[in-house]
């Protein structure tokens, strides 16, 4: 392996990510507060038109409950729509392969999956879903669920910055602006570049080729590029094809690979800066960004080290099982760390074949709550819950009742923050416990021993974390997993959204205490260190036992040559 080249590519990646995120974050801030921006000459008219068509009163302000109901209503309508499209796709247009209707439980799981921004795929795209469902069902959800997550973050940041307010903004306006000014332009730019790199975009039916041996080979096609762009940008991750971005037509060249992995983190990273602007404290945004960066870089470094050292155990130069030769080790683990840090879930390599400790990094990333950049919106509002905990504990240590941006953090906030952190963790642990000890759960695993355990743990972590990637090696399209992962996805999404909006609703009402010398600063390295410690200690304490008898024990077993 060329370490130096990998190193420089990583530096380039991080530099470009930071640069773009900073500018996009500031641009989006202007969009959010309705200020004139670079795209408003082009998009202002369409924006107003949308308000007119949907009868949205642009000036209506919503309480947290109205805001929440709007989020829930949108999700519910979308859920029903995606479910019905799948159940009746045979009768719908754009189905050149004449794919049959999707069976109920799989359709249910898929509908939940896309509405919750998870994109867990118990199906394989090219053999299950028509172009119609992929485009009007799934791709639309890729926009809608992403925008909903961002909107919630916007509501939250208003709650923190408003003094004695009652409302959090207008969900429909936030949703419209996010899609129109942020997601669409970026998705269009990205899909055009991807098409230039050889990613397919066509309505034709699958191509049939004859191989040299004379066998017949079916090559799946479809309108992929447009969907892939948003799947990456919106931290959705659901591939057009079953093997996701490992498939050449989804991810053709090293350049397309670089762009895709960059887009995984782009919007989540940008939103950190938008958040900082909304709170009127850029340094706080940098503090959050630095914490995320630190964990991300550590994850990549650890994963890389693990791959390199594991290859010596196997007496190979590189651990290439499950990896694309086009991308190599570094680009594979960079993707695997990025896709699990952000709640993306797209893959360009088989996570199942990663070295045990690389697998450990992907699991831990998801289990920390996907707050290292995280899902669009959801990553940062998840991070907010950890910030609250940190503020609470360290705020006490400076001898004041805790406050965040001058707003007192009291039992109401702590109660909901705990619930928001608790629900996904409890779901992961309980569901894994059920999965790993019942016949229904165990029937799906391909590998024995720790790896099989990791597969189950990963499935529920991915579901509850709204990640959507799979460790593979697990047959997910069973009644058990369709239902259980479906429930996990719902709890993981709304079990956090509801607490966050409840906290927002209470915070907005509070007065803002001015900063004094006695106030805990939340924008310096000391606080970054504390935040990091809380994330790692709370996350690690919750999942360390499970991880230690999963990937960690596997690592030691592999080292001593024991496999299953």
């Amino acid at each position: 392996m060329n370490y130096l080249l990998d190193f420089f590519q990583f530096i380039l990646f991080l530099g470009l990510l930071t640069f773009l995120a900073y500018y996009i974050g500031n641009y989006f801030y202007k969009v959010v507060i309705g200020e004139k921006n670079i795209l408003s000459p082009l998009l202002l008219k369409p924006e107003k038109l949308i308000y007119k068509i949907f009868r949205i009163d642009e000036n209506e302000q919503m309480s947290w409950k109205t805001y929440l109901w709007s989020v829930l209503a949108l999700s519910f309508i979308n859920f029903i729509a995606v479910l019905l499209m799948q159940l009746f796709q045979q009768y719908l247009p754009l189905n050149p392969q004449k794919l049959p209707n999707v069976e109920f439980l799989l359709a249910l799981n898929t509908a939940i999956s896309f509405v919750t921004n998870t994109n867990w795929q118990a199906y394989s795209g090219e053999t299950t879903l028509s172009y119609f469902v992929q485009m009007l069902g799934l791709a639309v959800q890729n926009f809608a669920s992403a925008a909903a997550g961002i909107a919630i973050l916007l509501a939250l940041s208003r709650a923190i910055s408003f003094r004695k307010g009652t409302t959090l903004g207008n969900f429909w306006v936030d949703l419209t602006r996010t899609v129109l000014y942020l997601l669409l332009p970026l998705a269009i730019i990205l899909s055009i570049i991807l098409i230039s790199q050889g990613v397919v975009q066509t309505f034709s039916s699958y191509a049939v080729a004859k191989t040299i041996e004379g066998a017949q080979q079916v090559i799946p096609l479809g309108p992929a590029a447009s969907q892939i762009a948003i799947k990456q940008l919106g931290t959705n991750g659901g591939g057009f094809f079953g093997v996701n971005s490992a498939f050449p037509f989804e991810n053709f060249t090293p350049f397309s690979n670089f762009l895709q992995v960059l887009s995984i983190l782009l919007i989540p990273a940008s939103l950190v800066f938008t958040y900082g602007r909304m709170l009127g404290n850029k340094k706080h945004a940098w503090m959050i960004f630095d914490v995320m960066m630190f964990v991300f870089i550590s994850g990549v470094a650890f994963s890389y080290w693990s791959e390199v050292s594991a290859s010596s155990t196997y007496h190979t130069s590189q651990l290439m099982e499950g990896k694309e030769a086009r991308f190599g080790v570094f680009n594979s683990i960079l993707w695997s760390v990025a896709t699990t840090a952000a709640s993306n879930g797209s893959v360009n390599t088989m996570l199942d074949s990663l070295s045990p400790l690389s697998g450990f990094v992907t699991l831990l990333n998801i289990q920390l709550g996907e707050i290292i950049f995280g899902g669009v919106g959801s990553g940062l509002y998840g991070m907010f819950l950890f910030i609250l905990l940190t503020v609470f504990i360290s705020g006490l240590m400076v001898g004041r009742t805790p406050e965040y941006f001058g707003k007192k953090i009291e039992s109401y906030e702590i109660k909901w923050a705990i619930i928001g952190i608790l629900i996904p963790s409890v779901v992961v642990l309980f569901f894994t416990a059920i999965g790993s000890t019942t016949n229904q759960g165990l029937a799906s695993i391909l590998n024995k021993g720790p790896h099989g355990f990791s597969e189950i743990l990963y499935a529920f972590s991915s579901g509850a974390g709204n990640n959507g990637s799979a460790f593979a090696g697990l047959n997910a399209n069973t009644v058990f997993y369709n239902v259980m992962v479906g429930i996990a996805m719902l709890l993981g999404r709304f079990g956090v959204i509801i607490p966050v909006l409840a906290i927002a609703g209470n915070l907005v009402k509070k007065n803002i205490a001015p900063d004094t010398a006695g106030t805990l600063r939340t924008d310096n390295p000391l606080f970054a260190f504390l935040l990091l410690s809380v994330i790692l200690i709370v996350g690690a304490l919750t999942f360390f036992p499970a991880l230690s008898i999963g990937p960690i024990i596997e690592h030691f077993l592999v080292q001593s040559g024991i496999t299953f």
Partner: protein
Amino acid sequence: MSTKHEIPLFDKKIILNAIKDSFIKLNPAYLIKNPVMFIVGIGAVLTIIISIRDLIEKTPASFDIQIAVWLWFTVLFANFAEAIAEGRGKAQSENLRKSRTNTIARKLVGDKEERVSALDLHSGDNVVCEVGDLIPADGEVIDGVASVDESAITGESAPVIRESGGDRSAVTGGTKVLSDRIVVRITSNPGETYIDKMISLVEGAKRKKTPNEIALSILLSGLTIVFLVVVITLKSFFNYYHITLSQDISAVSIPVLIALLVCLIPTTIGGLLSAIGISGMDRLLKHNVIAMSGRAVEAAGDIDVLLLDKTGTITLGNRMATEFVPTPEVNETYLADVAQLASLADETPEGRSIVVLAKEKFGIRERHISELNAQFIQFSAKTQMSGVNIISSDGSPNRIIRKGSIEAIKKYIAEESNVNVSAQSDYMFTQMIGVDIAMAGGTPLVVVENKKILGLIQLKDVVKGGIKERFEQLRKMGIKSVMITGDNQLTATAIAAEAGVDDFIAQAKPEDKLFKIREEQAKGKMVGMIGDGTNDAPALAQADVGIAMNSGTQAAREAGNMIDLDSSPTKLIEVVEIGKQLLMTRGALTTFSIANDVAKYFAIIPAIALSLFATNGLNGPLSVLNIMKLASPQSAILSAVIFNALIIIALIPLALKGIKYRPEGAATVLKRNILYYGVGGLIIPFIGIKLIDVLINSLGLI
């Protein structure tokens, strides 16, 4: 005075009582108030049941029994912490209450007196108190005036005057009448006096949790639930290996899982939380401050703005003469001499200070009034002057000496001789110097003899020693001080600068305090103030922390949320410190508690996973995680549990005394606390568990 109520950290009687209480508090109905300890209690019961089953089935029970014993100790230690804090609080309160319990009150029924027990008094009853009587309950003097010994409460031996009407009408139960006769209207029902209220704040059973304590309890309960789920599911995870690969998982027994759970849930802070809260109240009481609610103590830590009366808080209370400034044609000694003469009969502190200054500066002895054949003129509101007429042998006044403000003297000279005073050179001199004095924060007094201006006496407010440093500390803590004074703008500016306050309100009317509080609160600030008069009541009620002086009126005392028995205006600063210390102790021990878990994981996880994939009698791969090299799985688990229990006992003194408090900015405080309790909390258990492991192995307990 604070030494008077000092109770040693380990008082034998309190400890014995606390040990007894630790067992009484095992009552589940009581224990459930503390969810963390309740879980430990359930774990202890389960482990006992399993141990008994072991004994019946004749399987080795020693390990399970030891675990059970230490779990019980964990609960008992936590109970003990609370009980000892309670005991100390009660002892403080009892000191105050003792005097009151057997008091017989002389209740007025119509015109007749009836002797009743003090406990039978009700609000609205009138009682008579004469020389030697103890005042039976809190009340208000409605008739008469008396000197009262309040040393039982304040520790201050000098008697104080209590009289009907005005600002000094409030009396406290348990204090003693030294002279005269007063009629007191009782204002509280038995069990509701301030001391009783205070006792209820230090009694665990009756105590209401404060808002921040509730929030912290929720956090701790949340963590407890997380770890409960972790431990329950861990059993299933091990089952997976049993089901799929027939691994031996007998090490993962119920007592071991309970031990793991108890080690992980935040028992340290959970066990000490209530003790921390109670001892915060104790500390207040030690400073002779009675809080009406725990909420106020917490709020004190958050105060951003302190409203302080100038007089008595910032300055010594009275103006003192500091300089004589004669007019050009007058000798300074002569001025001092005349000024002293004029003040001989002036018993006000200002008058005394003039006499003293003349003596100190020029060695002018005090003369005897009788020798002088003098006629003294008392200060009158009408003339705004005081002075002396020295009578000559023929009976006519020989020297007419007056002193007063510039305005008053001008009027005095002008009214009898129709001269244009303003044009006189010595008057112009006076005025000039007068402005200088005022700008320096002083008050000029003019001395005239036979209508000739001799010069001025400079009276100055003397700022208390050390007060400037105190405000400097407050500023470092981020607290703004605001001085309230009736002085004019000029004087106020000078004193504010000298004392180092951040802001002041000059020529303040009583309602200005209220406006200022509201104004600051609208900006999101928390305001603390101290007050005594009836007109302070609205401001005291509006302030987030309002401390009423015990000498103040009943209205003021009811409006405030704390009462300062010493009636010391600087007490507010101490109260802020106590509030901050309380919150810091909570935060520090929470951090410590959570940081401890890392080491406990490294003790227990390798221990229970040791047999997983163990081959050929060798330990399983996860034994690598046994970085402390603990001797055996059983001793590892037991050591962690023992450490977990002992650390509660070890931290009781810290919980009772509070962590060391220094007035510093947030960043400095945070850095140090993180280092001590965060980093310390990570490292200490590694050492502690290792030591215990060595010890129990050498004792052969495993």
